[in-house]
């Protein structure tokens, strides 16, 4: 067997040019450690900083179309603009509710879905609109990919607007220091991906949460585990593991410089004690009667949590934000089907979510928008009812909701059809909801003749029919809305356009 002797440490040309590997690895090692581990800013959460902001990203998985929610068009509007209301995806007057004092429309629809065994969809967006219109800003946009995974990523990273950072990562970077899990991600598909910027502070990266019902168990080594001995004995055992087993072993001596090992030990020796010391399990676990009054309120608001993951995610989001665990949460449905106890006669999540529009556009859009607005409404109400700080504010006063969508849907239909399929369309608009914004308006506009949205003047904010809002511009709207200075990434400042 061929045997070759490896050389002693060879320094790369790169490291010869700049710095020693040793120095780098120390800096590297420390740079991986969240500041809270180093005892920095630990008190931030307790201070309830008045500059604090929270971001909730709700994902319209599969492509939620603004033409079937707040920018829905009536047949009369389309006709008056010279379009063909039989062909354009628009609604009869009986299917729309005009809410006073808002440019938005609400779709009110009852619809039978033949392809889902004649499942009956009942949806009414008007109540949501009445309650929250003052906080709603619809921002038009046009994407660049009709591929779900790619489009989902671009809807949160602005197509590399800030070196690939997702808006969640940016928000966590600015507002997440001091939180235990600054950026909690319960999204699916491309919404769950990390951004691509390796220079991002590690604490701002998303923590993936697959199942909010059971995931809190992974925050404690002993919660709900039978027969665990006293902390003193466990500490003795862990100390024995580190000093009596590992430090003695040839295995450790051989691989001590391996980065995976370093990473593992850092998680084991620092993260576990921190998570347990911060009682994260107790804060976030809500099964089996666990939790406090706030948890009970959240469970009452979202009672389907055992059958509908979206409800469980909503509870987790509320707890994570209001118990000082996270500054950013992402949640939303995925492609899987879920139903009530009635089984396939009552869908919670229809197969492939919004993307079922390929088969039955009206039904899929109506059902899924209803689903999204139900959860959004519940979250807003809970956050409003939870005080923040000492100046009479609530958590809602500090929060922005961004309803991300893969893309829009095609704007036309077979003449006069109510049951039709739609394709992916780059043209769309997204919904932002926050009391921090100049709400109750559209940034950009919609052409009733074609149902296509158009952009806005980046200086004045006025609608501009000759412009489409790019992914980067839309991303800048988000950063501006959160009062984040994106100039380092060359992002325009839209605060005057967006914020109060």
């Amino acid at each position: 067997m061929k045997k070759s002797k490896k050389n002693k440490k060879q320094v790369s040309r790169r490291s010869a040019l700049k710095f020693t590997a040793g120095a780098a690895s120390t800096a590297t090692a420390l740079s991986m450690v969240p500041s809270s581990l180093l005892g920095v800013n630990q008190s931030k959460v307790n201070e309830q900083d008045e500059d604090q902001k929270f971001l909730i990203v709700l994902t319209n998985f599969g492509g939620g179309s603004i033409n079937d929610s707040f920018l829905a068009l009536s047949e009369d509007e389309v006709r008056a603009a010279g379009g063909d209301p039989e062909v354009i995806n628009c609604y009869k007057d009986s299917q729309l509710v005009a809410v006073d004092g808002t440019p938005f429309k609400a779709v009110k629809l009852e619809h039978t879905m033949p392809a889902l065994g004649n499942f009956q969809v009942v949806s009414d967006q008007s109540e949501f609109l009445r309650r929250h219109k003052q906080d709603i800003t619809v921002v038009t946009s046009e994407g660049t990919s009709v591929n779900h995974g790619i489009a989902q990523q671009r809807s949160v990273n602005g197509n590399e607007a800030w070196a690939g950072r997702t808006i969640q990562e940016v928000a966590a970077s600015f507002y997440g220091q001091g939180f235990s899990i600054p950026n909690m991600n319960m999204g699916s598909g491309g919404y769950a991906f990390d951004g691509g910027d390796s220079s991002l502070e590690s604490y701002a990266r998303g923590m993936s949460v697959s199942n909010p019902l059971y995931w809190p168990l992974s925050l404690s080594s002993s919660a709900k585990v039978s027969g665990v001995p006293s902390k003193a004995m466990m500490d003795l055992a862990r100390d024995f593991r580190l000093r009596g087993i590992e430090s003695q072993s040839n295995f450790m001596k051989t691989f001590k410089d391996d980065p995976k090992l370093s990473s593992w030990l850092n998680h084991r020796e620092k993260t576990r004690p921190r998570f347990e010391q911060e009682n994260l399990f107790e804060k976030l676990f809500f099964l089996d009667g666990a939790g406090d009054a706030a948890t009970e309120k959240a469970k009452a608001m979202f009672p389907r949590y055992n059958k509908d993951t979206f409800d469980a995610q909503a509870i987790m989001s509320y707890l994570a934000i209001t118990k000082g665990v996270s500054s950013v949460v992402t949640l939303g449905p995925n492609s899987s089907t879920s139903t009530s106890d009635k089984g396939i006669y009552e869908f919670y999540n229809i197969p492939i979510a919004f993307d079922f529009s390929h088969n039955d556009h009206r039904g899929a859009q109506a059902h899924m928008w209803q689903r999204m607005l139900r959860v959004t409404d519940g979250l807003i109400e809970l956050l409003k009812a939870t005080p923040y700080g000492t100046k009479g504010e609530s958590y809602w006063d500090k929060t922005m909701i961004y309803m991300a969508s893969d893309f829009g849907r095609s704007k036309t239909r077979p003449a006069g059809s109510e049951v039709f399929g739609s394709a992916h369309d780059l043209n769309n608009a997204s919904v932002l909801i926050s009391p921090m914004l100049k709400g109750n308006r559209v940034i950009g506009g919609i052409d009733p003749k074609t149902a296509l949205t158009y952009g806005f003047d980046p200086v004045t904010g006025s609608p501009d029919r000759n412009k489409k809002t790019s992914e980067k511009e839309f991303y800048s709207v988000l950063t501006s809305a959160l009062d984040i200075d994106g100039s380092a990434a060359g992002l325009p400042d839209f605060r005057k356009i967006v914020k109060k």
């Binding site: 061929k2 490896k6 440490k9 790369s12 040019l17 590997a21 790619i150 001596k253 197969p351």
Partner: protein, 532 residues
């Protein structure tokens, strides 16, 4: 003379595909840059999503005013001007980064060190031969990686007592037995799981075993084909060239795979698969034998990826990503089609703009051969076909379905001569038919050719596409890389690892005759795998 020089450069850097002139110019100016030698300098060296610039690209762009009038001149001027700048602000100048092979647009991009351990010191502390290949260490790894179980105390004791040559033989025999185990090749085994990113299953849409609510295809057929060509010394090019299907027999703790000319419809088939299978003679794959191209032409591929699109770009992009390791979304594999290729916006998607054509020249050219293979489009002129309730949860089947309305003796005629389109078939007139159906939105569709390009090479159809792709370096590199990452634990990093990796993929397409099994035998003999 200048033209000859350019031709020479293009020929010399044969690893480089035909590329935009910036890349040629850069490598002309800095031929000793490791990224030019390896072919790594590419579009993404300056761009995120072309033409969007990354930090280095922004630097280059700012280095000249000549872009509008003299593009190549601007490249030269700018590159010279910014040599001593530091575009990513990491303390290393651009010229130093070019010569070191690091990324001038990414701060602190690090070239892997050749070694970062002190061999002799580790040797003193360790039980293993850390300065080279250790058979005992390897045996433990092989046991876990290939058999899914650890080598226990007794096994190791016996192994350690053998001579070196006996250890080598024992290891080889042991690995061979593991390669036939259910852990390796069974359902949800190692190889099966490697197919996840190729097949991209979604149970909601599955027919057959473990089916979902909306059965459109049975991806078990795809997994079986994948495993078949990755085991038992078979020619792995069959992934893209096979003209048959593969059935799986499970039982008695063993799994075997068998090539079959036609895939019979399973007893538990449902939804669309049941509907079509009854119509198509109790089969569940419908492409004629002479038109098959392995994983590229399965029913799942058609329904899940082609769907309703007329030009299946997603299908082509996925095939390039999954089997060639080239991600067009990251500007990889953007190879200019040879000859006089003209990009035409056949389906009216706006691909001719500068922002779009950059990628679509490659993507569309690669997609054309897929256009004869129907996705989910369903049209039977002259027949009132009701496929409504095909997924009725109550299982109520309407009377006017395909099998009831078209007599069995006319099925072949309908498939061949009529304007009928059903999912998963090969139909030469497909784009012509779709252009009629979609006349308002895609009127130019009938001009789409079947011929296209893959890796810049012209191909007459998808069968040829598969052959060209499977015989390329990219294909074998991708196969080996998948196994390398799984077994070694990370991509080839150091120079010695890169050399071993190169040796493996060249061997796979050389003396190993495309046998993954043979390649794996060699992989476990590498230092990357077997040296602690």
């Amino acid at each position: 003379m200048k033209n000859l020089l350019v031709i020479w450069i293009l020929t010399w850097f044969s690893l480089l595909e035909a590329r935009p002139s910036t890349i040629v110019t850069f490598c002309e100016m800095y031929p000793e840059s490791p990224q030019c030698v390896s072919g790594e300098f590419s579009c993404v060296s300056c761009h995120t999503n072309p033409p969007v610039n990354n930090e280095f690209g922004k630097c280059v762009s700012a280095g000249s005013d000549l872009w509008e009038t003299d593009f190549e001149g601007a490249v030269r001027e700018s590159l010279l001007k910014i040599e001593n700048l530091d575009c990513d602000n990491d303390g290393i100048s651009n010229i130093e980064e070019y010569l070191a092979g690091t990324d001038p647009g990414v701060a602190n991009s690090t070239e892997p060190t050749t070694e970062n351990i002190d061999c002799e010191d580790r040797d003193k502390l360790s039980n293993w031969n850390v300065c080279g290949y250790d058979p005992v260490y390897t045996y433990k790894r092989v046991s876990l990686d290939f058999c899914g179980k650890k080598a226990n105390y007794q096994d190791l004791k016996v192994f350690k007592s053998l001579s070196l040559s006996e250890q080598k033989k024992s290891l080889s025999d042991f690995q061979e037995s593991c390669l036939n185990s259910g852990f390796w090749k069974g359902r949800d085994g190692v190889v099966w799981q490697m197919a996840h990113t190729k097949v991209q299953p979604l149970r909601t849409l599955k027919s057959g075993h473990n089916s979902g609510e909306v059965p459109l295809g049975d991806y078990d057929d795809d997994y079986q084909l994948f495993v078949y060509y990755n085991v038992n010394d078979r020619d792995v090019r069959g992934l893209l060239t096979a003209d048959h299907y593969v059935s799986m027999i499970e039982g008695g703790g063993a799994t075997t795979y068998e090539a079959v000319d036609e895939m019979p419809m399973r007893d538990d088939a449902s939804g669309l698969v049941l509907e079509l299978g009854n119509f198509m003679g109790k089969r569940q794959q419908f492409v004629p034998k002479e038109r098959r191209a392995g994983m590229l032409t399965t029913l799942w591929n058609a329904t899940f990826r082609t769907m309703f699109t007329s030009i299946p770009r997603t299908n082509a992009a996925h095939a390039m990503r999954a089997y060639l390791g080239l991600d067009i979304a990251k500007s990889e594999g953007l190879i200019e089609p040879e000859g006089d290729f003209e990009l035409v916006d056949h389906d009216n998607k706006g691909i001719l703009s500068d922002d779009c054509s950059f990628c679509h020249r490659t993507l569309d050219a690669a997609s054309y051969p897929f256009t004869k293979y129907n996705g989910l489009s369903f049209d039977v002129p002259g027949k009132d076909i009701d496929v409504g309730n095909i997924f009725d949860p109550n299982g109520q089947r309407p009377d006017n379905t395909l099998v009831n309305l078209i007599p069995e003796n006319l099925v072949e005629w309908y498939l061949t001569n009529s304007k009928m389109l059903v999912p998963g078939i090969y139909k030469p007139r497909r784009v012509e038919l779709l252009s009629e159906i979609n006349k308002e939105t895609e009127p130019e569709l009938s001009g789409v050719p079947e011929a296209g390009y893959v890796l810049g090479k012209p191909v007459a159809n998808l069968v040829e596409w598969g052959q060209v792709a499977a015989n390329s370096d990219y294909f074998v590199k991708n196969i080996v890389l998948d196994y390398w990452i799984h077994l070694v634990g990370s991509k080839p990093a150091s120079e010695s690892e890169k050399n071993e990796y190169e040796s493996l993929w060249k061997g796979l397409m050389g003396e190993d005759n495309y046998s993954v099994s043979k390649m794996l035998k060699k992989l476990v003999e590498t230092e990357a795998y077997g040296a602690p």
